[in-house]
Amino acid sequence: MTEEASFEESIGSLEAKAEALSQGDLPLERALAVFEEGLALYRRCHAMLAEAEQRVTKLVATADGLTEEPFDPGT
């Protein structure tokens, strides 16, 4: 798992680990390893949701082409 793994990839991997354990045919040592990988993914998914801060930008056409600048929608 890379640092850049998206939430979609992380939750997908987490559910795959849970599914792999449910199959019940892993050797004990492998099962524990899968469990610990799953636990890391579980923490990562929670952390991503908890720490996400939405970025909002606005497209601005300039002489050099399009740029994005921070945007506050106001109230």
């Binding site: 524990l32 469990f35 636990l39 998914c45 939405q54 970025r55 497209l59 106001g74």
Partner: protein
């Protein structure tokens, strides 16, 4: 400067003013051709103007009048004629007057709907004089239908045309990405719509980056502005919402523009349309991959809900723990039976160590889940309250009743019952059994 007639509800930015000199030279006429205009008001016969001179005086008078350089006028189209070069000639009229008008080829292409005789339109442009034919003409730069009849006619024509091309076919609709990383929002950068969309996305799915592509959302300049914003944003996002708040038929007209509809249909990523209120259906709604009833609903439709995601994550976490516990218990029982025969201390120690690992991990898991649920408790409780408000039992608590058949099915219409039928009337604290005396629809 704008002349307007009964169009108070229709406001939009004026088109750029046209520089009179550049128009003049662009037409290939010689702007340096000066005219000797006599100063005396009563000219002697020897000082008579030529017809050309008179025509030029008229033309220059018209061209230098700022009122005529930028006009907004409402009238009925008649005598519509298309020239081979693509220019469209017609007369704009009302009950007592008419003005010869022309829509040049390039402006006709960008009009976004088809003019028809009898159609009520709102047109912007400038007035000019053509000395060769001695005519004064209104040069229409942009127009929109005006009035319900005209809107309806133009709308139906565009709708039929695009439907015939298959642009509304369900098979063309693309699914929305379940976890969009970047969400494009084509709308006005001021006002409630952009605020609502950003607020809902922040609450539901803060992982996404929202990219606003500002556009005009009403008036003759709006279709081109919306197309440009869509073209700018489509390469930068996974999904686009094209949105506008509620408004009059005139306000929403730009979303019936044929060119904009085609741009939505050919957008590189799925498009969600959210124009006006639920009852407003525009051509853009037909071509979009998904039509949302309102801008807020669009924001909800195109984002996963963080709470549902937490529920999914927690479910997977619980499965992990349950399964590994089973696996350990299974291993333990096998080891125990083995141990009875072999007394393998080493195996037993290994199992105890594994259990320690599991307990530690499980503690961490519970801690995280508890914290996350606590963090979102307010939202979860708010959701629960909302569900309660919507439930029929909450309605009963406000003093309403539900009529049921003996089997428990709900009676919704008078036509469903006949005199003599037995019904149960459900109140907040129980049922009253009644018999139908009389129907009174």
């Amino acid at each position: 400067m704008i002349l307007s007639q009964g169009t108070d509800t229709f406001s939009h930015p004026s088109p750029p003013s046209v520089d009179i000199r550049s128009v003049s030279s662009a037409r290939g006429e010689d702007p340096t051709d000066t005219i000797a205009v006599p100063c005396e008001s009563r000219a002697a016969p020897s000082q008579a103007l030529t017809v050309s001179q008179l025509a030029r005086v008229i033309r220059d008078t018209v061209r230098t009048n700022p009122l005529l350089a930028r006009v907004l006028v409402r009238g009925e189209v008649s005598g519509l004629q298309s020239a081979p070069a693509g220019h469209v000639f017609f007369t704009l009229k009302d009950a007592t007057a008419q003005v010869s008008s022309v829509l040049f080829h390039s402006d006709a292409e960008n009009l976004g709907f088809e003019l028809e005789d009898g159609m009520d339109v709102l047109a912007t442009g400038e007035v000019d004089v053509f000395p060769r034919r001695g005519t004064v003409q209104f040069l229409v730069r942009a127009a929109t239908p005006a009035g319900v009849g005209a809107f309806w006619a133009a709308y139906q024509k565009t709708r039929k045309k695009l439907a015939a091309e298959g642009l509304f076919d369900p098979v063309r609709k693309r699914p929305l990405p379940p976890f969009p990383r970047r969400i494009g929002v084509v709308t006005s950068e001021v006002g409630a719509v952009v605020y609502d969309i950003v607020t809902i996305l922040r609450r539901r799915y803060p992982l996404a980056h929202v990219v606003i592509a500002p556009a005009l959302v009403q008036g003759p300049g709006a279709p081109a502005s919306l197309r440009r914003a869509l073209a700018f944003v489509e390469d930068r996002v996974d999904v686009v919402v094209v949105a506008r708040g509620g408004g009059s038929l005139e306000d929403l007209w730009c979303f019936n523009d044929e060119g904009l509809a085609r741009a939505v249909a050919s957008c590189r990523v799925p498009v969600v349309s959210a124009v006006g209120h639920e009852t407003d259906v525009t051509i853009v709604d037909f071509v979009a991959d998904l039509r949302a009833p309102t801008p807020s609903a669009a924001a909800e439709l195109l984002s996963p809900d963080a709470i549902e995601l937490i529920v999914r994550v927690n479910a997977a976490g619980r499965t992990l723990v349950r399964e590994v516990q089973d696996i350990l218990a299974d291993a333990q029982s096998r080891t125990t039976s083995l141990g009875e025969r072999l007394s393998p201390r080493g195996l037993r120690r290994e199992l105890d160590a594994n259990r320690g690992r599991l307990d530690k991990a499980r503690g961490a898991l519970d801690g995280i889940a508890r914290r996350e649920m606590a963090r979102h408790r307010d939202r979860i409780e708010a959701l629960a309250r909302r569900l309660d408000v919507l439930s029929p039992f909450a309605t009963l608590r406000r003093g309403y009743a539900i009529a049921e058949r003996p089997g428990g099915s709900v009676v919704a219409h008078v036509a469903e019952v006949a005199p003599g039928d037995a019904l149960a009337v459900r109140l907040q604290d129980g049922r009253v059994h009644v018999r139908v005396n009389q129907e009174d629809p």
